[in-house]
């Protein structure tokens, strides 16, 4: 169902308080998270791509369609770009029922293929029981669900989402995240997801675009960017790695599940999912300890053989960061400077990573 539509942009915009200068090519499918502190220009960049911001210079291309090119003065207006946009706050049309809001985009869909059907979008987002209601009678979470369904029904080739969960309470957010996790596979189009929540990114993003003061600081696969010691993400309290893993077996007598990932196997408390299903793991940097030999008398059950790739200072002078290669996977550990000296850790050394905690999403 997918067109091969990688998004390429090279954009510049000068505003009084911010100047944007950003170029990137996004993978043709999957979620690319646009991450950065507030004021970094995330929303402005998204609006430039959508054509909602006036005054931007440069190029935007989706697949082989040029949306904007300052050199040829080509600039498609927003309504002719095959995109959909989910705004930060509820943006449903107040004078239409939920059903008519959904139909608004469907009726004006720029692609006649209609690959996403009304009933599918309604079922995916779970809004079937809301169809005859007015937007004013919906909760914040319900409104965003409808807004997302409406965006899908416009049959976009690019989906832009600007912190869609920021106005949703914690319970609603979790439920919508579950839904969003399913979207990339169903849609087969690129999705740009603006967020400043590490948790949302760890759950959703395949790729990461790090924005700072209008410039792209780094771009790449999520885990690579999350674990790079020279980037601010590795320094935060929530620093850690995100891994894809497959459930290999359950051991009911011990209430454990065995998972396989690129770097080996992990044992964690029983997961309520069938064998062979794929899960996303988060391993926090503070949950990894390092030993020079495999400890035989430790309570930690997950011991992984690793090579030190990189060592870097943490903003906290007591700590340092260790980037570890474990098979094909990369993990991040935060240990004390004291231990680093005592164990004489150096890049290239073979060590054991002791994993004390794994979070599953």
């Amino acid at each position: 169902m997918s067109h091969d539509g990688a998004l390429h942009f090279d954009l510049a915009l000068d505003l009084p308080q911010l100047s944007i200068q950003a170029a990137a090519t996004l993978p043709p499918r999957g979620v690319t998270a646009l991450f950065g502190p507030s004021g970094a220009g995330k929303t402005t960049l998204l609006r430039l791509i959508a054509g909602l911001e006036s005054g931007g210079r440069g190029q935007i291309r989706l697949g082989d369609t040029t949306w904007q090119d300052t050199h040829t003065t080509r600039r498609l207006p927003t309504h002719r770009r095959e995109l959909a946009y989910v705004f930060q706050e509820a943006s449903l049309f107040a004078h239409l029922t939920v059903r008519d809001n959904l139909a608004f985009g469907l009726k004006r869909a720029r692609s006649t293929a209609h690959t996403i059907r009304f009933d599918d979008a309604v079922a995916w987002l779970g809004v079937g029981h809301l169809l005859d209601r007015a937007p004013s009678h919906l909760s914040g979470g319900e409104r965003q669900r409808v807004a997302i369904a409406r965006a899908l029904l416009a049959q976009p080739r690019l989906l832009l989402m600007d912190e869609p969960l920021s106005a949703v309470d914690a319970d609603g957010r979790d439920a919508i995240l579950d839904t969003l996790e399913q979207l990339p596979e169903r849609l087969g189009i690129p999705i740009i997801y603006v967020s400043h929540s590490i948790e949302e990114i760890a759950r959703l993003a395949d790729h990461l675009l790090l924005l700072s003061a209008g410039r792209i600081l780094a771009a790449g696969p999520t885990n690579e960017i999350l674990t790079r010691c020279d980037l601010p993400l590795a320094h935060g309290a929530h620093a850690g790695a995100v891994l894809q893993a497959r459930i290999v077996a359950h051991t009911p007598d011990e209430h454990l599940s065995r998972l396989a990932f690129d770097g080996g196997q992990l044992l964690i408390s029983t997961l309520d999912r069938p064998v062979d299903s794929t899960v996303r793991l988060r391993i926090a940097a503070r949950d990894i300890a390092i030993a020079l030999s495999e400890p035989a008398d430790s309570s930690v059950i997950n011991h992984l053989q690793a090579i030190i790739v990189d060592l870097a200072d943490d903003p906290n002078p007591a700590h340092c960061l260790v980037r570890l290669q474990v098979g094909e996977a990369v993990l991040l550990a935060r240990i004390t400077q004291h231990s680093r000296r005592r164990l004489a850790l150096q890049p290239g050394m073979a060590v054991w990573a002791l994993v004390k905690g794994v979070a599953v999403r």
Binding site: L52, H79, F87, F93
Partner: protein, 227 residues
């Protein structure tokens, strides 16, 4: 005892309704783009245009009427224009009255619509564009329905205000039956002739009309707000 309203009274009522209807329709058509521009333009002289639109609110009607009379006169810019295109003189004609009322009632139509556009803000238009709606489509399918209370207020105020106009009519329209003699003038005539009973019927009618119009407006807007 003859009828409560004389044939001349009935004529004045019909003429008034015709004038108010014509002016309201024209103002809605001309005032909407102007209101849109006032709501969205960032031009430097937007403030001046806003003030100009609001001027009839505070200007004594006789002052407005005087300048209109001069402008429409044979030597005025408007008068020369109408003479050139073969329309003849405007003062003391129904057409002249329409032009005068357009200016006189302009703020009552433009301001509620402008305020409704401002209250809606840019977001619904952006949403519509991202869903594939052309600007003109978005205006009719999103902006107009969202601005409905503003249009309702504009229609009612524009109509009622034109019905009640006196000073401007007196200056540029005079008192010609079936051409410029509207209800307000007719009441004045009755009072001048000491026909207080006749004046009562017409004045009371206008009072009731105004009250009913405002009551209906509030009821409709309340119902809209509750939806």
């Amino acid at each position: 005892m003859n009828a409560l309203l004389s044939p001349a009274d009935i004529d004045a009522i019909w003429l008034t309704l015709k004038l108010a209807f014509t002016v309201t329709v024209l103002l809605l058509i001309l005032g909407t783009p102007l209101a849109w521009w006032l709501a969205h333009s960032r031009a430097r002289w937007r403030g001046a245009i806003n003030a100009l639109v609001a001027l009839p609110l505070i200007l004594p009607p006789t002052v407005l009427g005087f300048y209109l009379l001069v402008a429409m006169g044979p030597n005025g810019p408007l008068g020369r224009l109408t003479a050139e295109v073969g329309l003849g003189a405007l003062p003391f004609t129904f057409a002249g009255l329409v032009i005068g009322s357009l200016i006189y009632s302009l703020p009552f139509v433009v301001q509620p619509i402008r305020d409704a556009f401002i209250a809606i803000g840019p977001r619904p238009l952006e949403v519509a564009a991202t869903l594939g709606a052309r600007p003109i489509d978005a205006f009719f399918s999103v902006i107009l329905p969202l601005a409905r209370p503003g249009f309702l207020t504009a229609t009612v105020l524009g109509f009622a205000h034109t019905v009640g106009e006196f000073g401007v009519v007196l200056m540029i329209g005079g008192n010609i039956p079936n051409e410029t003699r509207v209800v307000a003038i007719q009441i004045y005539d009755h009072v001048e002739a000491l026909e207080y009973t006749q004046a009562h019927w017409l004045a009371g009618g206008l009072l009731a009309f105004s009250f009913i119009v405002l009551l209906a407006l509030h009821t409709l807007n309340d119902r809209q707000a509750k939806r």
